[in-house]
Every structure is written in structure tokens, then in C-alpha cells.
Amino acid sequence: MNAPVYNFAYLDEQTKRMIRRAILKAVAIPGYQVPFASREMPMPYGWGTGGVQVTASILGPDDVLKVIDQGSDDTTNAVSIRNFFIKTAGVRTTTSTGDATVIQTRHRIPEAALGEHQILVFQVPIPEPLRFLEPRETETRRMHALADYGLMHVKLYEDIARHGHIATTYAYPVKVDGRYVMDPSPTPKFDNPKMSNCAALQLFGAGREKRVYAIPPHTGVESLDFEDHPFERYRLDGTCAFCGANDSFLDEVITDDRGGRMFVCSDTDYCETRRSQSGAAETRAGASVPR
């Protein structure tokens, strides 16, 4: 039998080179979706194969990896992907946003500002922002080529006409560097402003759909809106029960079946950092949280 032997970070070097070429192209054309020959990975499509391939291609032995899902290092899929790279690459891992050189994420951008030494890798399910308006790839590629984004504006306008608001709360479309309309992956629109002029390189990998795209450092990213309906960042009106933060994105946690609930930071590292910096906040949270 052919006994399986795997390379550093799982993928063979030819594959990594192919993906890095696609990434370079993506960096050269911000927001443009570059097709690449995505491989089958040992985790299912839809569970982060695009992000994992991008991470595997850029990871070196000196990198320090952080993996989050829903903002947290401890959700099952984040644990699984982190363990995958510990096993196949043996790299150092961390939960600290500041210490990481590569951060793979699903559905969130960390609260702490990222630096030039860092790369943020997004897992992307549907890379095409126009897909739900036009199912055909042949059509959407043409629309991007011609910068024909009227359909998207009509959709946003119809939202306003129907609901009084733009009814898109996550995967809120953005325009990158004034040219390509891009899907930011299903992050809450709260995170959209963090993408603009970010010091870190942002890479997006969609495994099943075989696309990578990128936002180079210090690139302008605007969320689509109208002059009379400007983009609004949405945040639950509450404070974190653990650290008292009133500026972070919150998870709502149901505490009983009588309508009891509390709010906690979605970004666990942000929350823990705040708690370790301020003993007072911890005491306050400790008093109000059921354990």
C-alpha cells in the first residue's frame, strides 16, 4: 500500500507555488477574484478549505499562527484547523492577536488593530458578491470586467424601499480601491471599516469555488451605500458581561429558559486582554455571570 507521507503544512510545494502565484495576482489586482486549482483538503468543503490552502501556502516554520472562528480561538472548527497545522507544520500557535503573524479567521476580524507584520486569512464560502443576484459565473465575470454594478445598487435600493434600511447585516458588499466590488466573507458589517487602510495584508480563500482575492495593506475599502443612506456600523447596544467593553462586537448568550441573557465579547482574545489589564472589570463580571 502507498503509505501516505505529507509535506510541511500538508500541501506539496508545487501546489503551494501555484497558490502563491494566484495570491500575487490577487494582491496586484485588489478585490479581483483569481481562479486557482483548489485541492481537496482533508477537511470538508465549506469548513475552511480555501483559508487552509492559503495559510498552508504562506506559512513558514517561523510563523506564529492564530485561528479563530466567530471571533473565538476555542470554537470547534478553530481548534480543529489549529491542530491540523500543529500536526502538519509544527508551527507555534497563539491565541494572542498581537503575537500572531498569520491569523486565519471565519466570520470575524479581530477587534485589535493589525500590524504590518501580520496577514489575515479569511475563509470564504461564496466569493462572488453578485452571486445571489446573478447565478451565472459567465455573467458575473462579465459584470466585473465592465464594472457593471448597477444590479447591486438596485438591490440595495430595493432594500431601502422595502424595509427602510439596507437589509444586509453580514457579507456586506464593499468596493476595493475604487474598482472591484468584493464580498468580505460573512463577517458582520460591524467589521467592514476595519478592512479599509488596514496595515496587514488581507487574503481571502474560497476552496470549493476555487478563488482567491486580496486587499493589500493600506488599501481603501468602502462599504456600498447611498448619499442619503450612508453605511451604518451595527453593534448590539450592550456591554460585555466579562470585560465591560462597550465597543466590541457582542455575542448574545442565553442563560436560562425565562428570557435571561447576557452579552459577551465575540473576540475572546480582546476580552481576555481587557480583563487581564483591568482587575476591576473582572470582579464586576464575576459577580454577574452564572457559573
Binding site: 501516505p4 483538503m41 465549506g46 472548527n77 459567465t138 453580514y170 459577551v264
Partner: protein, 366 residues
């Protein structure tokens, strides 16, 4: 405490241990060997090799065992391994005319050179559960001698010009490979066939079936179905001549479909083609139906049924992709859900305010 996501690491470890426990089943029952799977669940092994795109009976059997018999999971395991293998080239085209035939039938002719050879088949069995298989029954001796090469029905028709010629491959043309270059549209037939060969048997079966029920009819005849062993040959660059790599078992289906003609060309039959690893008749027949349906554009037919829609079909054949994305809904989505919840609450409170405002206006008017 209530933040349930904590402790994911321990939970995963426990879940995997439980899975291993369930896989083994009752320890008083002997463990399944790979030889048993290879030898007695042959058709499962064939399907996993075909959709897993890797001809290796041993690894396919291992994948089936590891996947507790979940064939799509087994296909996934094989694909993930295959993706890491180095590629050193493409084989020469298989010559199925030289196949050591074990089964060969044609629905288009009563008899033909080489004859109708039923071989090992479920066809014409009565589907009655057989209690004699419950125990370790004596196996019946069969005469499984391969019959040797025999002419292909399609070549007989082609000699008379009754069927369209198969386009000759140009030796310098590279064969497309969608595992090396992402599929673009429109896709050439080599890529379409590769996509269908890797595609989910059930999905292709349903699509092929839909063409028979009027959604893109092609009036097919099973021109020929043949099963047997063919030699795989390879030309290493440094040698410059063919060397045999070994034999593989394949099932080939050539559909003969309704004819086509024009002012300048006499009418003749058209082709649909299916090929699968191992003994996979249902798969190769369904593939041939869908291949023909997908040639609608090329043959100037109106594209109006799902099976004729290249982008729809080719984007959804891959069961590893499909199962991954469907099942990813199990992953936490609470960040997005919270965001939706927030908007919904806001819309509802605005609705209530407006309703309250409207009713107070009404009262004022009254």
C-alpha cells in the same frame, strides 16, 4: 457556565474516540479486513475509486472501512489523499477496442460480432432476498474467463457513416485536468467528461433520468456497454516509446442518440459517452446520457432543460464539494445570526411604532 464554545478541544477528542469505538462495533464479532471489503464489497470499492478519482483498490477499501461504509465520506478520504500525490504525466488514451471483455451487451442489435455476453450482472435476477447468503454459504463456481477483444458496436456503425465520427485527438493537444486548472465556462468536452466521471452517481442518475422524462430528450439507445480490463500505457519523455503500466478494470457505455443532419450533411446518429473505473454500469450509462445532453450547444439544440445546462450540471456534480457545503451549516454561525437578529428586532420595533402612530392618527381623525 454558559459559553458553550469553551472546551472545544476536549469535546473533539472525545467525539473522535467515540467514532472509533462505533466503527469497530461489537468486539466479539471479527473485525472486517481490507481483503474482505476488496473481495466482497467490490462494487462499493469501484464507486469509491471512480468518484475518488484514484485507481487503488487497497486504499479505497481502507477508506470504506475508515468511513464506516459511508461511501461519500470514503470518496472524500481518497480525494484528499490523491490531491497530495505528484503527477508525472498523462497516460496514452485507453484502447477499449482491445479490452479483455468480461461483459458486453448492445441494446441496439439482436446479435453482433462477438455476441451478447452477459457476464456478472444483476440484470435479470429476481430481486428476492436470498436467505442462503445469511450464513457462510458455499459459493457457486463461475466461469469468469475473459473472452478477449471484440469489435465495438460504435465502430461498426461508424464504418457505414451512420454515426458522427468521434473527433480525433491531436497528439500535441494537452488533455485538460480540472484538478490542476479550475474549471471555466464554456468547458471543452474533455473537461466535461472528466467532471462527469468524478461526479456523484446519484446526481448523474437523476439528471440522465430527467432527459428520459422529457427534460432535454435525446432519444438514446444503449449502443454498447462493455466491462473488462484494459492496459494503461505511458510514454516517459526520456524513453520516447510506450511502456505498459498495468491493467485497470473499466466500464464503458456508448449511447447512440437521435440523428442530426443539415442541408450539407446527411443525417446520422450522435454520441454520448460514459466511462467509469471498475464495474459501474449505472454510472457510465447516466454519464453518457448527461454527456449527450450537454452537447446541446455544440449540436445546435435549444438549451432549456437542467441536464443541458453546462454551468448548472458541472458546478453541482462533485459530491465532496456538495456534502462539505451542505454540512458546513453545522458549524457555528452565531455571529451572523446575531447580526440578523439585531436587524430583525429593529425592523419589528419600527413596525410597532409605525402601527402605534397610525392608530393614534386614526383615533385623532375619528
Amino acid at each position: 457556565m454558559y459559553v458553550a464554545a469553551k472546551g472545544g478541544e476536549k469535546a473533539i477528542e472525545n467525539a473522535h474516540r467515540l467514532l472509533a469505538h462505533e466503527r469497530r462495533g461489537d468486539p466479539s464479532v471479527p473485525e472486517l479486513s481490507l481483503d474482505q471489503i476488496k473481495g466482497q464489497l467490490r462494487l462499493a470499492v469501484d464507486r469509491v475509486m471512480c468518484e475518488g478519482s484514484l485507481y487503488d483498490r487497497e486504499l479505497a477499501a481502507l477508506a470504506i472501512k475508515q468511513a464506516c461504509g459511508d461511501l461519500i465520506e470514503a470518496i472524500f478520504l481518497l480525494r484528499a489523499f490523491r490531491a497530495t500525490l505528484p503527477r508525472f504525466g498523462a497516460s496514452e488514451p485507453l484502447d477499449t477496442g482491445e479490452m479483455a471483455v468480461r461483459r458486453r451487451i448492445s441494446a441496439a442489435f439482436k446479435d453482433l460480432p462477438g455476441g451478447q455476453v452477459l457476464g456478472p450482472t444483476f440484470d435479470y435476477t429476481h430481486r428476492l432476498l436470498d436467505p442462503t447468503l445469511q450464513g457462510a454459504g458455499a459459493s457457486e463456481p463461475g466461469c469468469a474467463e475473459p473472452i478477449g477483444a471484440m469489435p465495438r458496436v460504435i465502430d461498426i456503425l461508424a464504418a457505414e457513416g451512420l454515426i458522427e465520427p468521434s473527433p480525433r485527438a491531436r497528439p500535441d493537444d494537452r488533455v485538460g485536468d480540472l484538478t490542476q486548472d479550475p474549471l471555466g465556462f464554456p468547458a471543452d468536452r474533455d473537461l466535461r467528461l472528466q467532471n462527469l466521471a468524478r461526479g456523484d452517481e446519484g446526481f448523474l442518475l437523476a439528471l440522465g433520468y430527467s432527459t428520459q422524462r422529457g427534460y432535454g430528450r435525446t432519444h438514446p439507445f444503449a449502443g454498447e456497454i462493455r466491462l473488462g480490463e484494459v492496459e494503461v500505457e505511458f510514454v516517459p519523455q526520456e524513453l520516447g516509446f510506450c511502456i505498459p503500466l498495468g491493467e485497470i478494470t473499466v466500464t464503458e457505455c456508448q449511447m447512440i442518440n437521435q440523428f442530426r443532419g443539415s442541408a450539407t450533411e446527411p443525417p446520422r446518429f450522435t454520441r454520448g459517452y460514459g466511462l467509469a473505473f471498475g464495474h459501474s454500469e449505472r454510472k457510465s450509462m447516466a454519464m453518457a446520457l448527461v454527456d449527450r445532453a450537454l452537447r446541446a450547444r455544440e449540436l445546435g439544440e435549444e438549451v432549456k432543460a437542467p441536464a443541458q445546462d453546462e454551468e448548472f450540471v458541472l458546478s453541482h456534480t462533485d459530491n465532496v464539494q456538495a456534502t462539505g457545503f451542505v454540512e458546513h451549516l453545522k458549524l457555528p454561525h452565531h455571529v451572523d445570526f446575531q447580526a440578523e437578529l439585531g436587524l430583525l428586532r429593529r425592523l419589528r420595533s419600527e413596525f410597532e411604532q409605525e402601527r402605534a402612530g397610525a392608530s393614534s392618527l386614526q383615533e385623532a381623525a375619528e
